[in-house]
Assembly symmetry: C2
């Protein structure tokens, strides 16, 4: 072994007593190399601190066995378990996941996509489908295999593995209306650049609009995704002269923030005001009262997205988009409005 610089493939070959071709095979197609030989190579690789050269691996297999995911934020449990499930299915196929975060900024997402491709990602997981035309052109021009998740469209453009945010919010709102609520407010996520937040607003609005018994939206407040943002939006809604009997929240974090603030202000949930969530993350069952919310099957969605992306990467016949169904989870934060309950 030479004394200077990083160890080379030749150094590993010499240390392991095999040819460089065998090492290349062990790295790229391990099943074709005897277990004992692989172990000898692994020991040499470990001992020398050898890192397979990226360019070399691409030349040998035209694949890096790495997939990128760009999520809006790392500081948000609403992507966490789906992403973990996505990664676990990839790992079963020996594919590594690298995650970048866009900060809910479509310009930044574009830079992250380019960065992940530059670093050799074979394919991508993207969240939602609102992005500038230049990003879509880039994905198309470069023929990048990708799956869109956390939303669903019935269109041949793109492969979706997700749920219909508008429909889920529409169903939830109809349930709120069935309980007798007519004056409804919404604490939504920031809709700019975020089709999921926007579609949830649209679903709520459609259900209220279609109601023929006087239902109306007293107010829609858009809020960022932290607990305190939900609390502040609750204050804004409850300090207006036009008060709702139910507040539909765009996600569980906003709803939990609103409930905690309600408790501090002495407002009883659901007796004084009903509050609903969206996502069914851990918070939803921890907060008191438990959140009535929309369960997003994150694990199923993440697993299925991984399977579909692996199909794309192995050039199997394209499947069509998959709609994952959400379901209403009834806990205790939604009840009939007081006037009716008496």
């Amino acid at each position: 072994m030479k004394n200077t610089g990083s160890p080379t493939l030749e150094d590993v070959a010499e240390a392991a007593g095999v040819s460089t071709a065998t090492i290349s095979r062990a790295l790229n197609d391990p099943d074709k190399v005897a277990k004992e030989t692989r172990e000898r190579i692994q020991k040499a690789v470990d001992r020398l601190g050898y890192t397979p050269n990226f360019g070399g691996r691409v030349l040998a297999s035209n694949r890096t066995n790495t997939v990128g995911a760009i999520i809006p934020s790392m500081a948000n449990a609403m992507f966490a378990s789906g992403l973990q499930a996505f990664q676990e299915v990839l790992a079963e196929s020996g594919v590594t996941l690298l995650v970048a975060s866009s900060g809910y900024d479509t310009e930044h997402e574009f830079r992250q996509i380019r960065s992940l491709m530059t670093h050799g990602a074979d394919g991508l997981l993207l969240i939602g489908d609102e992005r500038p035309q230049k990003t879509k052109d880039f994905l198309a021009l470069r023929k990048i295999p990708y799956v869109i998740s956390w939303c669903y469209r019935n269109t041949p453009d793109g492969l979706y593995v997700g749920f219909d945010n508008e429909k889920a919010a529409y169903k939830l709102t109809n349930r709120v209306l069935e309980f007798g609520h007519r004056d409804i407010a919404m604490i939504a996520g920031i809709s700019k650049g975020n089709d999921r937040a926007r579609n949830r607003i649209e679903g709520v609005s459609r259900a209220v609009r279609e109601n023929t018994d006087g239902a109306r939206l007293t107010k829609i407040v858009e809020a960022r995704y932290r607990l305190e943002n939900g609390a502040e939006a609750f204050d804004e809604i409850m300090s207006a002269s036009d008060l709702p009997t139910a507040i539909i929240c765009g996600n569980d974090v906003l709803a939990a923030g609103a409930i905690v603030r309600a408790r501090k202000k002495g407002a009883r949930v659901p007796d004084d005001v009903s509050i609903t969530g969206f996502d069914d993350i851990g918070l939803a069952s921890v907060v008191e009262p438990g959140l009535t919310t929309v369960r997003v099957p994150q694990i199923e969605m993440g697993q299925e997205a991984a399977r579909q992306l692996l199909r794309l990467l192995s050039n199997q016949p394209a499947t069509s988009s998959i709609e994952i169904e959400t379901e209403l989870v009834m806990r205790d934060s939604l009840a009939a409005p007081k006037a009716l309950a008496v």
Copy 2:
């Protein structure tokens, strides 16, 4: 522009009407290129869907402006806001963060480290310091710049930006003892391969051991990191004949799971049993009663870790490790045991 294959640097040069050297400079050292020229190049890059060749960029600058982080799990809020803060500071310097998850498995962490280096990470953020010798050798042999966070050691080996888990758990336990508790149980994280979980157990044990007034540990249950794991561990502890008056939990998720289960079983917290957490994530203020817990200053820690890693990457003089202080947050889940309270 040629009609086949991916666009090349030459294609971009032709479209933008500049030399390939100018494009290389714009990609690697943009301040040296006039704004108007950069914009023209950017437009050509966007339009053609050009991705800078990874190998080429490395040759030109010997830096990829990418940093990797390997965290134990994506499905866990205890890393989320620190990681987000870490990324935001990197982004200010134009450095992209790629995140991989090890699944709390040190073998898997080793593979992820190699993978990130293979994909051209300039440096790494690692969580905790328990890893096999081969991983440490690999990091040393390859001279990989890295910062260790979420723990702190007073040692010249390695650059730490984190907090002392043992000390924080020791202080918390002494506070529990001050309230009069003598029969204490612990719901800990899985300690195998996880120095943070192990050190928290050690801190609790030391405080109990040093107490001269009969304090003892009735039971230590190790549990995975989901709410239901905390609930199950609560059941295990409270079905024993030897009951504690306080349960110290290794993190907030376990504590919240225990509190929710206590509520379902009709046990009052803190009247029947006190429960404490660790981390002070959002759950801690949402659960009822609010969790008395240890606040880990995740944002400060993530920001400082990023600053230190950027220093390493720019070959500035090495700084020494930084200890971030934790603090006790007193909410309502800890009170004197019933016998004393009467």
